[in-house]
């Protein structure tokens, strides 16, 4: 029985989150390998459709990482991103999909360790929630009888 390896997409803004990811790398920090990073020019370019598409395609978790409030290179991009993420979270709640699978974080380019922390925190959260109901790999697995693993939700 393969261990649940979550698929988590991290939308990172170029000026802060992605730079922090780079820094984490240079610092040789260990963090969850289950994160797939997508670089954006600004967190404010995040679109609800992209987040929903990620979940539709089976992502177990999604997060958007933006600059600290007040420090967005494009001034208000991170405020827009925060509101949009909240909008999608509310929408997910309405349709009965666990909205905890979507998160929003603020960090600066200098925060390499924080980037690693976020990645690990998110991975733990998703592991506890289990695979997304739309995660096809685990859906097929579910039809075979298997022993219940600790932390896995039916």
């Amino acid at each position: 029985m393969p261990e649940f390896r979550p698929k988590i997409v991290a939308f990172c803004c170029h000026y802060c989150a992605y730079a922090a990811a780079d820094l984490a790398g240079s610092m040789r920090l260990q963090y969850s390998p289950d994160i797939r990073i997508v670089e954006m020019p600004c967190s404010g370019t995040i679109d609800a459709r992209v987040i929903l598409k990620a979940f539709e395609e089976g992502a177990d978790g999604v997060y958007v990482a933006a600059c600290l409030e007040g420090d967005c290179h494009f001034l208000k991009g991170n405020y827009r991103a925060k509101k949009r993420v909240k909008y999608v979270k509310d929408l997910l709640e309405q349709i009965g999909f666990e909205s905890e699978r979507l998160q929003f974080y603020n960090l600066s380019a200098a925060m390499g360790p924080r980037f690693a922390e976020i990645a690990n925190e998110m991975t733990e959260r998703i592991k506890a929630l289990g695979p997304s109901p739309l995660n096809k790999k685990y859906k097929q697995e579910k039809t075979k009888p298997k022993p219940k693993e600790e932390g896995e939700q039916q």
């Binding site: 679109d47 609800a48 459709r49 929903l52 598409k53 979940f55 539709e56 929408l91 997910l92 309405q94 349709i95 009965g96 999909f97 109901p133 739309l134």
Partner: protein, 223 residues
């Protein structure tokens, strides 16, 4: 623009619960501007509905398309192919678009995704307010450009009523008293005395009270 607000997604999902193939049709004009039924909103709704049905174990096929607008028959024609195998159509246009699709495609059940609200404009990005009653006989030149029919909660023509206080309407302190606005504007125009003129009662037959209305331009109709 016509301003509409989406119905809750759970309501729409309930209406299409027995459908396997649904076509969502967005509109590129008014509802795009008020961010409720344009291409983006249509795709978001489609995605959310698909996720919802997938996790219920009852997947649904949803196609989306956005027309320039849904209030001209020429654009409604464009749906002829994509609508063929749809069990239902969800229109994100205002009430007009829903009716246009329903009328043209007699065998298709058309569901409104919006609660169409009013004719108005944006105050700022994200906030829209009602401004025009579509009353059929405009008197804005008499009231300094502020509409007493729709902005006054009592459609008073010789206002303000006794409930106007501190410039607010008695029913809600977030609603400005239209007659206070008219008074201020007429004062700014130097036309306050005009407010002493008895404004006669409205001919409501020019509004919906006279039955459904029509406008015809003979000069552009080509046989």
């Amino acid at each position: 623009m016509i301003v509409a607000e989406q119905k809750p997604i759970t309501e729409i999902a309930e209406l299409i619960k027995d459908c396997k193939k649904v076509l969502l049709v967005g509109c590129g004009t008014c509802v795009t501007v008020c961010l409720s039924g344009g291409e983006k909103e249509t795709e978001i709704m489609a995605s959310a509905l698909r996720i919802m049905r997938e996790q219920e174990g009852n997947p649904i096929e949803i196609k989306t398309t956005t027309l320039v607008r849904q209030c001209d028959p020429e654009y409604i024609e464009e749906l002829a192919d994509s609508i063929k195998d749809a069990d239902a159509v969800v229109s994100l246009a205002c009430g007009v678009g829903v009716q246009y699709i329903a009328e043209r495609y007699m065998d298709k059940w058309v569901i409104p995704a919006q609660n169409t609200k009013f004719a108005g404009g944006a105050l700022e990005h994200g906030i829209w307010e009602e401004r025009c009653a579509l009353c059929g006989e405009c008197i804005l030149h008499l009231t300094g450009g502020i509409c007493p029919i729709i902005r006054c909660s009592k459609s008073i023509l010789n206002g303000p009523c006794g409930g106007s206080q501190y410039g607010k309407c008695e029913i809600d302190k977030n609603i400005p008293c239209a007659w206070q606005l008219i008074y201020d504007k007429m004062a700014a125009l130097g036309r306050l005395e005009e407010m002493m003129t008895y404004q006669p009662a409205k001919d409501w037959s020019k509004y919906r009270d006279g039955g459904p209305r029509k406008v015809v331009r003979e000069d552009v109709i080509i046989e």
